[in-house]
């Protein structure tokens, strides 16, 4: 009798274990993106122009350097930070100043931002300045129809013509 009662008691414990494991392994559902929203991601890695121009060393400057370091061209390593702006339907949505990477600020600057957008048709404009002075020197504009859960990626590849919208 005790054996039967024990068996029933164990069953009564295994069933909740089953329910807990079964439920929390797939529920409650999580919506990382609300149903009426789409996602825009701005993601690229780009090395800005050098902060200062390279210059030819004079013979006097070269003489001051150790023989193994007498390179004619002196190019400061530090690069310009990137200035990035994104507009959605004419309204400024994102404005970033992205520093270059590296201890000497001589590496590429990396941008990654995720922005939730309302679904529907949108005009998206993106511009970037990758030099120390002057106006934005890279621009792109597009019009996109974003469905619920839709995703648009704004990428930048200088070799392929600059900004690209991928959706």
């Amino acid at each position: 009798m005790i054996g039967v009662l024990r068996f029933l008691a164990q069953l009564a414990l295994y069933v909740p274990l089953m329910v807990i494991l079964g439920y929390f392994s797939s529920a409650p559902r999580f919506a990382h993106l609300p149903q009426d929203r789409a996602l825009m991601r701005v993601s690229f890695s780009h090395a800005g122009e050098r902060l200062r121009e390279c210059h030819q060393r004079t013979p006097e400057e070269l003489a001051k350097l150790p023989p193994n370091m007498r390179s004619q061209l002196d190019c400061p390593r530090e690069r310009s930070p990137l200035k990035v702006e994104v507009e959605l339907d004419g309204r400024l949505l994102l404005s970033l100043d992205v520093p270059p990477s590296g201890l000497h600020h001589d590496g590429a600057a990396t941008v990654y931002r995720r922005i939730e957008l309302p679904t529907g048709r949108h005009e998206i404009a993106v511009r970037m300045r990758d030099r120390p002075h002057g106006d934005f020197n890279h621009r792109a504009t597009t019009t996109l129809d974003l469905p619920p859960g839709g995703s648009v990626l704004i990428d930048f590849d200088n070799a392929r013509g600059g900004f690209r919208f991928r959706s």
């Binding site: 392994s25 797939s26 993106l33 590496g107 990396t110 990654y112 995720r114 619920p148």
Partner: protein
């Protein structure tokens, strides 16, 4: 709870006893509410499970067992898995649908056993926290367990990526965004997942899902190095119960995939596995920084627990007396924490080894003293010197106390040898009942039972902790086996079984101990009334 020879069950608090030097180690378990909570959970489950099958006391073994289920099912799944990024999803779907009766079950079992592993791991941590098992000589086991939590989660989360569905894409993106929050420099990791990934990269994910569990297994092996007689498999009935539960769940609710991964169209509602992926919602509902604070904070807190614990009284470790040691190695065999190494000694015979106590690992439980054949009280020396002993509670002290106490009794008394962490001995101490506390019940050399009877005791009760609640893991098990003759040193079979009893009355179970004493007294009185009682003689040194 009756085992070898009689009696009941209960738990501890020990009052000071005249002649018993204050130990400093003997924490009054009954005074610690967290320990009582842990004990209450165990005793609650004991209503359904036999004590030795109680899952509350088998959490470590269950963790290993679930790991093996996950491994076995994982190997099967890998045999059918397409390791390319483009083919992974289809191969998992094909296995789940076309081979639902085996492949599908294996997949579900793989998932649910992993979930159960996470749950058991958290329960294991909780139980050890409640019992205060994270400081002192346990620091190594505790600290070596902390990285296992990270490895377990890395294994579990990485497993979801291999299905390469929308959940995989969400999880890997969330993980990458979480890692990118750290100022490590370089390209953002998440950039790898916002466009279709290639097969080479997918192979890396597979490698991680094999490599990290292997590291986890290595870590689990290290985690148990400071304990001996480890059970890495639960009792058979419990193992079957868990396996059948997981199988039933696999049949009732087969694991399913989401839509294939598509970086351009994200699924908005995901059936998340909260056992592993809870960190992602935390990250999105708050921020990656807060999710990092949670993870790093919890890790630091766990790592700091040994230092934050209330400073215990100085712990004394066992001392070896080589003049009284014959190198039998029983102390090393019985030590629950692998704190005794048998090593050769200069000048000794070839092959002869002697115990060396590893002070840092020694719990100071005295189980080794109870295992030593030199601890028999029948030795005629004036001072009872054991081959290995506890300086603050020697077997010589125990013999002297016993003899002194028996000499002070008017008639035959019941002697209770009890673990100081089990049922409070004060509750039974009375005229005709002598109570002698021990650091752990397995510190009692079994010959003391016979010695007490020969010295005039009417009967002897040996009281151990409630099964599964021994502070030193193996005390009740060793004393039970020694008294029943299954383990050396054992109680001689010539000792009248009606005159001694083994009880398992833990802290708070003083009534059970009282019952055990009363029951033995009734039994010995009946024997005495029949005139069967053997003649007793006082031994020397009294």
């Amino acid at each position: 709870m009756t085992r070898v020879n009689a009696i009941s069950a209960a738990r501890v608090s020990i009052g000071a006893m005249s002649g018993f030097r204050t130990t400093g180690v003997a924490s009054n378990a009954a005074a610690r509410p967290w320990v009582r909570i842990a004990a209450a959970i165990g005793r609650g489950l004991e209503r359904a499970f036999a004590p030795e099958h109680n899952p509350w006391h088998q959490l470590g073994a269950l963790g290993f067992y679930l790991f093996w289920i996950v491994t076995a099912t994982g190997i099967y799944l890998y045999a059918f898995f397409d390791t390319s990024a483009a083919g992974a999803y289809a191969s998992v779907e094909q296995l789940s649908s076309e081979q639902w009766y085996l492949g599908g079950i294996m997949r579900s079992l793989h998932r649910y056993a992993s979930d159960a592993f996470a749950a058991i791991m958290l329960l294991h941590i909780g139980r050890e926290l409640l019992r205060g098992h994270f400081a002192s000589f346990r620091w190594f086991s505790w600290l070596s367990g902390v990285p296992l939590i990270w490895l377990a989660y890395a294994s579990g989360i990485g497993g979801y990526w291999l299905v390469w569905d929308q959940l995989a894409l969400f999880s890997i993106t969330a993980t990458a965004e979480w890692l990118d929050w750290l100022p490590l420099g370089g390209d953002a990791i998440v950039r790898n997942f916002i466009q279709p990934i290639d097969d080479r990269f997918f192979s890396l994910l597979i490698f991680l899902h094999i490599g990290i569990p292997l590291l986890l297994l290595a870590g689990m092996w290290i985690h148990i190095q400071r304990i001996s007689h480890v059970h890495t498999l639960p009792p058979r009935s419990l193992a079957w119960g868990v396996l059948l539960t997981l199988l039933a769940l696999a049949v009732a609710a087969p694991a399913a995939s989401h839509a294939p991964a598509d970086p351009t169209l994200l699924q908005t509602g995901l059936a998340l596995d909260w056992f592993y992926l809870f960190i992602h919602p935390l990250q999105y509902e708050t921020s990656p920084g807060i999710a990092w604070s949670f993870a790093a904070g919890a890790t630091l807190l766990l790592c700091a627990m040994p230092a934050l614990a209330a400073r215990p009284a100085p712990r004394e470790h066992a001392r070896v007396d080589l003049d009284n040691c014959n190198g039998c190695a029983r102390c090393a065999d019985d030590c629950p924490y692998a704190a005794i190494a048998m090593k050769p000694r200069p000048g000794a015979r070839a092959g002869q080894r002697f115990p060396v106590v590893i002070a840092d690992a020694c719990a100071g439980c005295g189980i080794c003293a109870g295992a030593c054949p030199s601890s028999t009280p029948f030795r005629s020396t004036d001072a009872l010197l054991s081959g290995i002993d506890m300086p603050r509670r020697t077997v010589d002290d125990l013999r002297r106390e016993l003899e002194r106490a028996l000499a002070g009794e008017r008639g035959p008394a019941i002697v209770v040898f009890g673990c100081e962490r089990a049922a409070a001995l004060d509750s039974v101490r009375a005229e005709g009942v002598l109570a002698l506390p021990l650091l752990c019940i397995a510190m009692l050399p079994p010959a003391f039972v016979e010695y007490a009877l020969r010295a005039g005791a009417a009967g002897v009760v040996v009281n151990a902790c409630h099964p599964g609640e021994c502070e030193f893991r193996l005390g009740p098990q060793w004393i039970e086996r020694r008294l029943s003759g299954e383990r050396e040193p054992h109680l001689r079979t010539s000792v009248d079984p009606s005159r001694w009893a083994l009880s398992f009355a833990g802290a708070g179970e003083e009534r059970d101990l009282a019952q055990a004493v009363a029951s033995l007294r009734a039994k010995t009185s009946a024997v005495e009334a029949r005139g069967d009682r053997p003649r007793l003689r006082r031994l020397g040194n009294a």
